[in-house]
Amino acid sequence: MKKREAKKEFTHGLKMGVPIGIGYFVVAFSLGINAKVAGFTTIQAGLASMLLMASAGEYALFTLVAAGASYVEIAVMELVANARYLLMSCALSQKLHPETKFFQRFFIGQSITDEMFGAAIGRDKFCTAVFYFGMMAVSIPGWTIGTMLGVAVGNILPANIVTALSVGLYGMFIAIVVPPSKKSRIVFCVVLVSAALSTLFAFAPLLSKLSEGIRTIILTIIISAGAALLFPVDDDGNIIAEKKKEVANEQ
């Protein structure tokens, strides 16, 4: 890639990273309060955030450490809480620019998060490594500093502001899912089914006893596999059933 092109990609990544970083800062702040309860110092919590970059994974870490869990328990819980990143990593491996170098993948991998993954997948054609690094340059400090501040001064913020800020992350998820649902009726239906089944799983007897992480994994695998069987995608990432219809309409 040419230098000028790389610079443009990096700047674009920075711009995408700003709203993500601000959102992270806010969420990390409340996470920091959890860390403090678990006995983490400001430095320890900051280190955990910088290395893990995972809201559910860190929440699990802090609560388990507070409960005096064993190392094995922590390892298993991290596996469950972060298993969706395994799927995202597979998906991202297809989306990364073919020129992405091997060593660059080791850095990108560390920061596969729901939002950055969403932004990368939302790009036309390929996602370059430099674009991803641009997002990381804002998001990692936002997440880390937010956590540290949460430990240091978490009790100062009024409760109603903390409550309001807690939906920010979900707002971001919605912003990632809605545009493709607008374009494709099949994606819209898959999203609708996902929301319905997830709500059912959360309240149904027995099923609701499963942890949130496990429910997420089970539903993701079942629904995505079902959609893949019913509505396969062609090599360019278009749903075949919808493409045929378009062709038919043109004729």
Binding site: L79, L86, F117, S166, Y170, V177, V178, T216, S224, F231
Partner: protein
């Protein structure tokens, strides 16, 4: 206890890092299998939706403000497609709704 915390962080880091990096480094060619390709196409939309619903409705002080956050978020996303606006609008509507609910409660 204090020194243990670093070990806890290390364990959590190693597991989380391997989960994320192994697929990204091992799968370096385009996947040709149609089913896997299609499966991976749907994964992000399904996971994000499953994580958002019903969690967003339960995240706030009341179901009403949570529902409002979801509805406003979807509307703003539909019309603007702007990540930051959507997140901001959801937060503001929850703040206002909770304020109103508390006033009504007296």
């Amino acid at each position: 206890m204090n020194s243990n915390i670093y070990l806890y962080i290390l364990v959590a880091f190693v597991v989380t890092y391997l989960i994320r990096v192994l697929p990204l480094t091992l799968i370096r060619k385009p996947i040709t299998n149609r089913f896997i390709k299609s499966f991976l196409f749907y994964v992000p939309y399904v996971t994000l939706t499953v994580m958002t619903f019903p969690a967003i409705v339960m995240a706030t002080g009341s179901v009403v403000s949570g529902l409002l956050a979801a509805v406003v978020g979807i509307l703003v996303a539909y019309f603007t497609e702007n990540l930051f606006l959507v997140a901001g609008a959801s937060c503001i509507i929850v703040f206002l709704a909770e304020l109103l609910i508390n006033v009504l409660k007296g």
